[in-house]
């Protein structure tokens, strides 16, 4: 990737205050990561154009962006880390494992078609041992379960009706691994008088970006943006239900990847619950909700926080009668997309997750709700509890 296209960041504004050190989930659990203050603005003073990267710790940044949010000086620390990681991995060369983890979209349709076999293999201990041994994908981590038909295939046989058309960016995971979330999103939108359509779409590219593969991520963006632009120009808004895909398309496409047209997409792209909250504010939200006497806990994913839209799911879920819902006082789940699958990072991922698990234990809920598929995977892995996307619960409450 050409370094000159990366945004210039002014790290002079860092006042060495350590606010970022207070929130970093990684440096809290391992001394191997020197923490955002040092790896970001601190290290930047030592980086000279033309020098090879020596940032051996940089790959331990989990990409939660809490440091950015905590910084009152406006230093984009996680972005500095991402750029440094891209340089480090570009020079060091990436393992095949990283390519596989970030390109799952290529084989997910096949995996879904042969889902009984895929799932058998993915659950097979021998296969997981092999993956651990050969690919350094930690065997203790459950691999995603594939479903068939895919969400898109299901939608093909579904007739959506409504007064107004709305586009839905569902993302890879919902398409092949959590089809019910997609169905729930469609049902909730339809219950609010919206006709859903699915613009042609590919993986948003976040897994690649997170692994420092700017080029790969950019390719995905270049495929998605024209399709999303077409939806917008036909007069539709776009909804996403995965906060990670949403954050990527809305902000990183423009800022980090400089994808033409991304700035036009951004104002029309909404988190599902952000959109529902807008409907509520204008008095157009379907409020015919039945009682759901459940004790649930809500976890705000990192990428939702960095979207800077508050906690819209919590706002809407609070409208469900009988539902007892509390916000979980914890920051990062520890999965970090592909981070927690990697053998060398599994322990760190679990340590970070422990804090979340303890916070959940304190609330003792029947179900946990969260908008991000990665967080859902991790919370299931950590707690064994029922973990849903909030839209699934909202769908259940619809009369």
């Amino acid at each position: 990737m050409d370094e000159r296209t990366w945004p210039n960041n002014n790290t002079d504004v860092c006042i060495r205050c350590a606010a970022c050190m207070a929130v970093c989930p990684v440096s809290r659990v391992t001394p191997l990561f020197p923490g955002p203050k040092q790896t970001g603005p601190g290290a930047q003073r030592f980086r000279k154009p033309g020098d090879p990267s020596v940032d051996e710790w940089i790959d331990l940044c989990i990409g939660c962006r809490l440091c950015d949010l905590a910084c009152s000086s406006g230093v984009p620390i996680s972005e500095l880390n991402l750029i440094a990681r891209a340089k480090y991995l570009d020079e060091k060369k990436r393992p095949l494992r990283d390519w596989l983890l970030t390109h799952s979209y290529l084989f997910s349709r096949v995996a879904s078609f042969f889902s009984p076999i895929t799932n058998f293999l993915f659950k097979n201990r021998g296969v997981r041992w092999m993956a651990d041994l050969l690919l350094k994908i930690d065997r203790r981590r459950e691999l995603p379960v594939y479903e068939s038909p895919t969400f898109r295939q299901w939608f093909g046989g579904h007739r959506s009706t409504g007064e107004k058309k709305i586009a839905y960016f569902y993302g890879c995971y919902i398409n092949t691994n959590e089809v019910d979330v997609g169905k729930a999103a469609v049902q909730v939108l339809e219950a609010n008088g919206l006709e859903v359509f699915l613009p042609p779409q590919e993986c948003c590219g976040l897994p690649m970006l997170g692994n420092g593969d700017f080029e790969g991520a950019r390719k995905m963006g270049l495929k998605n943006v024209p399709s999303l632009l077409q939806a917008i120009r036909s007069g539709s808004e776009i909804i996403f239900s995965s906060t990670s895909c949403g954050e990527m398309i809305k902000h990183e496409y423009n800022r980090l990847l400089a994808i033409p047209g991304a700035e036009e997409v951004a104002p029309h792209l909404f988190d599902l619950f952000e959109y529902l909250r807008k409907l509520k504010e204008s008095g157009n939200l379907n409020l015919r909700l039945k009682e759901l006497p459940i004790r649930a806990a809500y976890f705000a994913p990192c990428h939702l926080r960095s979207l800077g839209i508050g906690l819209p799911a919590l706002d809407i879920l609070r409208l469900i009668p009988g539902l007892h819902i509390e916000n979980i006082d914890a920051d990062c789940c520890g999965l970090g997309g592909t981070f927690g699958f990697k053998k060398e990072k599994y322990e760190i991922s679990q340590e970070i997750g422990k804090d979340l698990k303890e916070a959940i234990d304190r609330l003792n809920p029947e179900a946990v709700l969260t908008d991000c598929e990665g967080c859902r995977m991790q919370i299931r892995h950590l707690t064994g509890l029922k973990v849903l996307h909030p839209v699934q619960l909202l769908r259940d409450a619809l009369t």
């Binding site: 002079d12 290290a43 000279k48």
Partner: protein
């Protein structure tokens, strides 16, 4: 306490330490007395420009030749202290190309390798340069770490038998007819008094040369010129940047370790101590330097400091002998009839070795011995390549870091103390990069004192040292307090006056 030595050197700057090394390599015993730590004067208070000679080549080709010759020698013998950054002399539209052409010709004549670069070439090397520049000339300028240089000289001198009395001030000279019989010196930290007898004395006190000579009732005419410098938070360029015009205020930017140093001003002074950097000086430096690198207008500064150039007013007295226009060597036997005293002052950091060699030659001549100097070929003990920025960065994540900004490891500090010769614990600041970064020691000096407490190097109330440091730090910070630095200073004050209630 009575001490005896063959040669007594007064002044622990580059010249003094260089003489100590030169003499001890010739097998001549010597003792160096310095009233502060090494480099308390101009040696430690300059911009660290490792001259190619380019800066003087048009006006003073002789000095330029001296520079390039020493430049070549130091690259070999002091490679660890030098970063071979190269330098650019840039021509801006207002500079005209006349001077540039003379400059290129003069470089050729003085055998300074110079290469003319087009606007595009210059900008591709240094993208931060003023895009309006007309052309640039590349010369073998570089940056030098004066602290490492002097300490290595001192270390090698010591290894060859030289001794040092730091924080010790000469308070009087005892004359006996045509010679200085002894000097009386006082340890400023411990109060001890010394009576030192020496066969020969070398006055290497730099800007203090006249003040020292007054102790012997002598006087030389010197002018003192203050040069102020600003330190940026990060490098603004990776090469030395000069204006291609007759040397003037604010036309040098030197990359040094993590920072760039902007210099300098030139203001006549009456006294040497209590140098203050005034707001007009700060404005002038920023205005001039931002002509070369526009981002300087908005960049962050972390410190300002000033040094005093000793300027010798030559020719005013018949007996003076200017060895070169760069520095002076005075034999007080010829000038004042004092047989065993010489003075060496003036010069440039890059010519320190030559000054030391010539001064030592004169001492040998007086002693009637004929040992040639070997310093032009014998490398300093810490030879090898200078640790670059990436080597520093590599230490991150490897063990305990004491200074976050400059990545100074705990062991590095412990090493300095293990050698056990620091009379003042804060002299460590001259021996590591500790406290030279963004926060200027606001966090690490507290940590350092903690470490010294733990290891029993200091006992009782460390706050006196901490407060002293904060006051010293303040002198450098106060002139550049605006923007982000004000924000950081509010934090530092909140810690020390607030949380700690010092």
């Amino acid at each position: 306490m009575n001490l005896k030595t063959e040669v007594l050197i007064i002044g622990g700057g580059a010249t003094g330490a260089g003489i100590a090394r030169d003499l001890s390599l010739r097998g001549i015993p010597c003792l160096l007395v310095e009233k502060g730590d090494f480099l308390s004067g101009a040696s430690g208070r300059n911009h660290g420009l490792f001259h190619s000679g380019g800066r003087y080549v048009v006006a003073d080709p002789e000095a330029a030749r001296e520079c390039i010759a020493e430049n070549r020698i130091l690259r070999k013998i002091a490679s660890r202290c030098v970063e071979e950054t190269d330098g650019l002399f840039i021509s801006l539209p207002e500079d005209g190309l006349d001077f540039r052409d003379r400059f290129v010709r003069a470089c050729e004549e003085a055998a300074i390798p110079a290469r003319l670069l087009s606007q595009d070439e210059a900008l591709s090397l240094e993208p931060g340069l003023n895009p309006d520049l007309k052309s640039a000339v590349a010369v073998p300028d570089g940056s030098i770490d004066p602290f490492e240089l002097v300490l290595e000289n001192a270390g090698d001198a010591e290894a060859h038998g030289a001794t040092f009395l730091l924080h010790t001030e000469v308070t009087s000279l005892l004359l006996d007819g045509d010679r200085v019989k002894a000097v009386v010196a006082k340890d400023l930290l411990r109060g001890e008094e010394y009576r030192i007898e020496a066969s020969y004395l070398v006055n290497a006190t730099g800007a203090w040369a006249d003040r020292f000579l007054r102790l012997a009732g002598l006087h030389i005419a010197m002018a003192l010129s203050k040069g102020s410098m600003l330190v940026t938070n990060q490098r603004v360029s990776h090469r030395v940047i000069n204006r291609c015009r007759p040397p003037s205020d604010g036309d040098i930017i030197v990359p040094n370790h993590t920072v760039s140093i902007l210099g300098t001003t030139s203001i006549r002074l009456e006294e040497i101590e209590h140098l203050e950097i005034t707001p007009p000086e700060v404005s002038l430096l920023i205005r001039e330097a931002s002509r070369m690198v526009p981002a300087i207008e908005t960049t962050r500064f972390i410190r300002a400091y000033a040094g005093v150039r000793p300027l010798f007013l030559s020719g005013e007295e018949g007996g003076d002998r200017a060895i070169s226009r760069g520095f002076v060597l005075i034999d007080h036997e010829k000038r004042d009839g004092i047989r065993n005293l010489i003075t060496v002052t003036g010069g440039k950091l890059v010519t320190y070795r030559l000054m030391a060699e010539k001064a030592s030659d004169l001492v040998c001549q007086k002693m009637g011995i004929n040992h040639p100097s070997v310093t032009h070929t014998k490398p300093l003990p810490g030879a090898g390549q200078r640790a670059g920025l990436k080597e520093r960065l590599k230490t991150l994540g490897q063990g305990e870091i004491l200074c976050d900004c400059e990545l100074v490891r705990r062991e590095e500090a412990e090493e300095v103390f293990r050698e056990g010769k620091l009379k003042n614990p804060l002299d460590i600041l001259h021996r590591t990069r500790l406290a030279k970064g963004t926060c200027q020691g606001a966090f690490c000096v507290y940590r350092l004192l903690g470490l010294l407490n733990e290891s029993g190097k200091i006992r009782g109330d460390s706050n006196t040292i901490l407060k002293g440091f904060l006051e010293e730090r303040w002198k450098g910070i106060r002139p550049v307090l605006w923007g982000t630095s004000v924000r950081e200073e509010e934090l530092i004050e909140s810690i020390y006056k607030g949380i700690f209630n010092l």
